[in-house]
């Protein structure tokens, strides 16, 4: 099956039916290993046992930005290449990205209270991630507000590309401004500063959560294709009844 074949929704559905069980199984296994490694990881000399929150906070924070990047590529697919599945991909990803962003914010807050002495600080990193969360909600509201999926897709694609400007702000906020949030310790020039005892469980969890996203995204895309099939059949039914 070539990439162009996937532009056909029926072929895409048949592919998802085959790969989803394998993806779900691989996700479950990786997350179980990740949770076990996280539970067994040693305490940090500064953070103590609270460092265990890192193993769920960081993958969710990475995915909050990764999902928006996927949506931005899909937005280009809608506006430039008019790929029939591009807006399906973007629409299906938004609620999942919103959930990851919400989890990044809340787990960060629960990590911040014992470490910083506060749940929330209006610093550049925290505020820019909150803006990302609000953009996800805005995008979901836009999809719901416009009846015609193709009109909604174009408006959502423009909003997504404008929102992508926030991604470098989130990433580099800890370098550009003086923030309470610590600077990058994994994805940085010069390599990770984390000890292997923390880095390995973190990477396993990151891969596990990424697979979780792929699995949920494919399943949500399948649902969106079926929803559009329902809509077109309902329109056919209405025109048959009117004739």
């Amino acid at each position: 099956m070539t990439l162009i074949d996937l532009a056909n929704p029926t072929k895409f559905l048949s592919l998802t039916a085959r790969v989803l069980p394998w993806l779900a199984g691989a996700t479950a296994i990786l997350l179980l290993i990740g949770f076990y490694q996280a539970a067994m990881a040693p305490d940090d000399y500064q953070h103590g046992a609270v460092v265990k929150i890192m193993f769920i906070h960081v993958p969710n924070a990475w995915l909050s930005m990764f999902v928006w990047s996927v949506m931005s590529l899909a937005a280009l697919g809608t506006l430039v290449w008019r790929h029939p599945l591009a807006d399906v991909a973007a629409k299906a990803a938004a609620p999942i990205g919103a959930a990851f962003t919400f989890l990044a914010l809340v787990t960060g807050s629960l990590w911040g209270r014992p470490m910083w002495g506060t749940y929330w600080q209006w610093d550049a990193r925290l505020t820019s991630v909150l803006v990302l969360f609000l953009m996800y909600l805005g995008l979901m509201a836009l999809w719901r507000a416009v009846d015609d999926p193709s009109r909604a897709a174009r408006a959502a694609a423009v909003l997504t590309l404008v929102g992508a400007l926030n991604l470098p702000i989130i990433k580099f906020s800890v370098d550009w401004w003086n923030t309470l949030h610590q600077p990058a310790s994994v994805l940085r020039m010069g390599g990770p500063t984390l000890d292997k005892a923390f880095l390995i469980p973190l990477l396993v969890m990151a891969v596990g959560f990424s697979l979780l996203f792929v699995t949920l995204h494919l399943a949500a895309m399948r649902n969106e294709i079926l929803r559009r099939r329902v809509r077109s059949l309902q329109m056919m039914q209405a025109s048959q009844q009117a004739a």
């Binding site: 067994m40 609270v50 609620p95 959930a99 990590w111 949500a220």
Partner: protein
């Protein structure tokens, strides 16, 4: 495994992540069943796809 004086923060974080992921999975599964049910109803009412395939075909 001791979670120290801030155990409640750690347990709450992990519980919340598990709950939200579970809600996402259940929501997507329910949505799938709902769409399949609607397609079955449309098919039963006599509406067919232009390709001639069954509405619920994947």
């Amino acid at each position: 495994m001791s979670l120290g004086p801030y155990a409640s923060f750690i347990v709450t974080s992990y519980t919340l992540v598990a709950a939200i992921v579970l809600i996402l999975i259940i929501w997507i599964a329910i949505d799938y069943r709902r769409q399949k049910e609607r397609l079955r109803e449309l098919e039963a009412s006599g509406v067919t796809r232009r390709s001639g395939r069954q509405a619920t075909d994947i």
